[in-house]
């Protein structure tokens, strides 16, 4: 069987699903950030696959996706480090100031 678009898409869905599971279940903020990177990568993979099989425009979007991922990581890690300075841990359970 030849490798086609469907294979790439299913793979990226699996990667995205794993990343989603990580975001929902991990307690360490850094790991959650990493899982978000996973999900972004899965999306990138989809875009590149589409650009190969459907229409070539998707690869330009990947560049923007990279930019956004970089921005997100820099701000996210800065926030985590600031939080760590104050609380001495980065457990997501403690990041709950935004409540009633």
């Amino acid at each position: 069987m030849d490798i086609g678009l469907t294979h790439y898409l299913v793979l990226s869905v699996l990667l995205f699903g794993v990343g989603l599971y990580g975001v929902l279940s991990r307690r360490n903020a850094v790991v959650i950030l990493m899982c978000i990177e996973l999900m972004l990568n899965a999306a990138n993979l989809t875009l590149v696959a589409f650009s190969r099989y459907i229409f070539f425009y998707g690869q330009a979007i990947v560049i923007f996706s990279l930019v956004i991922a970089a921005a997100e990581v820099s701000v996210g890690l800065a926030t985590i480090i600031t939080f760590y300075r104050q609380r001495k841990n980065i457990d997501i359970k403690n990041i709950n100031l935004l409540k009633w």
Partner: protein, 163 residues
Amino acid sequence: MGINIAFWVFAAMAIAGALMVVTMHSLFRAALGLILCILSIAGLFITLSNEYLGIIQILIYIGAIAVLIIMAIVMTRDVEHSNRSSTYKLPAIVCSLAFIGIAIWTILNTKWVPKFTLSDTSLPAKSIGQMLFGQSGLVLAVEIAALLIMVAVIGAISVAKEK
């Protein structure tokens, strides 16, 4: 045939890396899993005959983002055994599986129609460059993205700065 084998290998590696991220107790190993995953995705890009993006992927994700994450892991203590799961483990699994199921079902039931034939793809770097900076390109979006990353960097500095 070679590309088929490469796909399956990279796919297996990517899944394995992703699973490492969410299962390893050590943060370091999780980070290594992420790098493995990113590397395999870069490889997959190449199997999609998009070498340019594959290289960019390695440069930016591994050279910048992964390093940044590892630095963050180093700066926050309690590295070993800190990658524990929260109370929402079971709902998270159900949710992810449901997502995967729905998404795969959708993919398999969609008729994908190519807008062009495989033969007329030009060099990816050139086409990306044309798309971004060409006559009817996305120059404005590029500028905005540049502004965004600059703001993000300045914001990150100001947030993380020791008061």
